[in-house]
Symmetry: C2
Subunit: 405 residues, 2 copies
């Protein structure tokens, strides 16, 4: 059994780096704070006897040798970058649960057959740089290293520059094989809490399509310009925000659609906005449904452009299909939860996770635990120590079974 108090203490220690006044964490990918968080993880992993490897997209792998080091490692992990309004648990839990598994095995003097690895994946959140789940996406070949390194944030800084800046640009090379991958995570939604269950057995994750939409209208004076002559880019964008919301509400219960960012130009009180730019995030459990939502988005943009005499451009910046997890590993999670006496249920992940990409190259599974009110990507994000410990115990058992003792 893992040590829940030690796990909690590590979570609280890591959460000091980038701590916000409202009790959250703002440790955005590849900032100095992200660098400090990485340094702390590396130190802890080395203290636990691990060797450290960093790859060219900045993923960190902490390795605990096995009895047979020619076997591909059994891996776990997640990310430690956060949203601007991030919490203490999203991602951090998966990384530190992995570390807690290693510390528990050390304390118990257990050697596994296959080596174990804890991975810290770069820029999972996708807030500063797209694509989201960048480090695991490169590792699993979802897109190229070069594509990822070239992406720029709103200030024009590239991923490659930011990695070099914090000292986590490692060596390029082919990704090594992975024997199996497990990821523990807070649910980030309300289902477990509503059902009073402790362990979520994650059967699949929603597919996602993200877009940048730009609306080109005509800036003009807010006073003398008659209402009927306007080509107001924000008015068109606002109509689309409502329309995009309907794309998911008409496809409940599992579809999601969100406009998370918007900017208008010139952003002056008495100028009719001439340009607007916003992001769209569409999600669905079924790839055909996701494509149907894509079509609905394009239809809505075309209609509004025609009706309002504006130009609207759509660029897709992220796509991955719905991802089922490996039934054998999912069953192992279920059986271990049952064995340990934890209430559990099957759930579908509404969030993307590094495990979604790992599932393309290795058997993979995820373990969810509840978070308060299902709230995440918010500084008030919170989780019960007992639940975090339970998820960690399931992770320990599942990893041991996969690695062999």
């Amino acid at each position: 059994r893992t040590d829940g108090a030690r796990l909690w203490q590590s979570l609280m220690d890591l959460a000091r780096i980038g701590a916000t006044l409202k009790g959250g964490v703002c440790r955005i990918a590849l900032t100095d704070l992200d660098g400090q968080g990485r340094d702390l993880f590396v130190r802890w992993a080395q203290e636990a006897g691990c060797s450290i490897r960093v790859d060219a997209i900045g993923n960190i792998f902490a390795r605990r040798a096995g009895a047979d080091d020619s076997l591909p490692p059994v891996m776990t992990g997640s990310h430690i970058d956060t949203q601007p309004t991030g919490g203490k648990f999203d991602g951090n839990y998966g990384v530190l649960a992995g570390l807690e598994v290693l510390r528990t095995l050390d304390a118990a003097g257990v050697r596994t057959r296959a080596p174990l690895e804890v991975a810290v994946w770069t820029n999972e959140e996708g807030s500063r740089f797209v694509p989201v789940m960048m480090g695991s996406g490169v590792f699993c070949g979802a897109f190229t290293l070069e594509h990822a390194l070239d992406q720029r944030d709103a200030q024009g800084v590239s991923v490659g520059e930011a990695l070099a800046q914090i000292g986590y640009a490692g060596a390029a090379g082919p990704a090594p094989a992975v024997g199996a991958y497990f990821e523990a995570h807070i649910e980030q939604g309300p289902v477990l809490e509503n059902h009073g269950r402790v362990i979520g057995v994650v059967t699949a994750a929603l597919g996602q399509r993200w877009y940048d939409v730009s609306v080109q209208g005509m800036e003009a004076h807010a006073g003398p310009t008659p209402m009927e002559l306007r080509r107001d880019a924000l008015l068109a964008a606002s109509e689309l925000v409502l329309e995009i919301n309907r794309i998911a509400t008409e496809r409940r219960p599992h579809a999601r659609s969100t406009v998370g960012t918007i900017e208008v130009f010139p952003n002056s009180r008495n100028v009719i906005p001439g340009r607007a730019r916003f992001s769209v995030d569409l999600r669905a459990p079924d790839d055909a449904q996701l494509l149907d939502m894509d079509a609905a988005l394009r239809t809505a943009c075309a209609r509004v452009a025609a009706e309002r005499g504006l130009q609207i451009d759509i660029e897709q910046v992220v796509y991955f299909p719905p991802q089922p997890f490996m039934p054998q590993l999912t069953e192992a999670v279920r059986a271990n939860a049952e064995d340990l006496g934890y209430s559990h249920m099957d759930v579908v992940s509404g969030a993307g996770h590094d495990a979604v990409y790992l599932a393309r190259v290795a058997p993979a599974a995820m373990i969810f635990v509840p978070c308060a009110d299902g709230i995440s990507h918010n500084e008030v994000e919170s989780a019960e120590p007992a639940h975090l410990e339970a998820g960690c115990n399931v992770l320990l058992r599942a990893m041991l079974a996969a690695a062999g003792v």
Copy 2:
């Protein structure tokens, strides 16, 4: 008669300061570029034999002595600050038409009875700092000097600091009396062009109410958060943008409503926006109608807040009632246009102008000339040299009549 070519040359020379690639001007109030524009005006006015006075809100007064300097001056002027997407004529025309009047009188050796003054009013545009029409507002007692000096831009810089920075913080003191005030300006709307007229006789200006609206929802994860549990601040703001547009379209032809700025927080692609902040600009020819529009705005905000479970706060940041101009001076503009053989018509100004505040303390009138396609607050803003000269000739005659020769 004034020299249209000289006027045009001065407009082009001033437009070099802050020139944009698209042929416009970005010379935002109290920036270094605004300072350079002011310096150029001051030099030109001194070359024309004027004395210069700067008041505590940074208004510049260039004075040409009269035969009887105990008389209150006959004043003209406008502003040289621009929108971020400003043109070469908005404001600049009124200032340089005034200068051209003085240069014409010098060349003709004419001395007026009352002194003449050309004013450059501070921060007319209201883009960087509210209230709009700030310099003339302080001069005319619409709000206090202290209130104006304390306003801050989005970066937290105050008006007082910015004035000191560019060296235009003059001495405080009571505003001197004004004998009469005329302001020449491009129309910034399509009416004159549509009717094929050269001179707009401005009978009144729309009243305005501006607001900051902030929406407080709840940030949450764009993936796992079910559509029905969201409190999406941008979704609420978008509904309001459409609703606010209807406030004016339902009260055509003269009412206007515009949302020119919007910002959301945390502005991350996969976070449901927890906060949104936007500006509202309402205008009407009748104060009761403007109040009715204010009520419609408040009702819409209250309804959306209740329906979506969000908090919405409204702060009014600008108010001035519709302003009629002095019939005797308006008639002088009309008669001089007629005399000079220029086609003309009566128009209502959809924009606020410094003349709106001056009309509270002196007889005031405005002279409009057409601008291409009625477009202003846009870098493509353009006007015909012949029209600008015509407006300047009307201004010359009207000022001479008011000042006496």
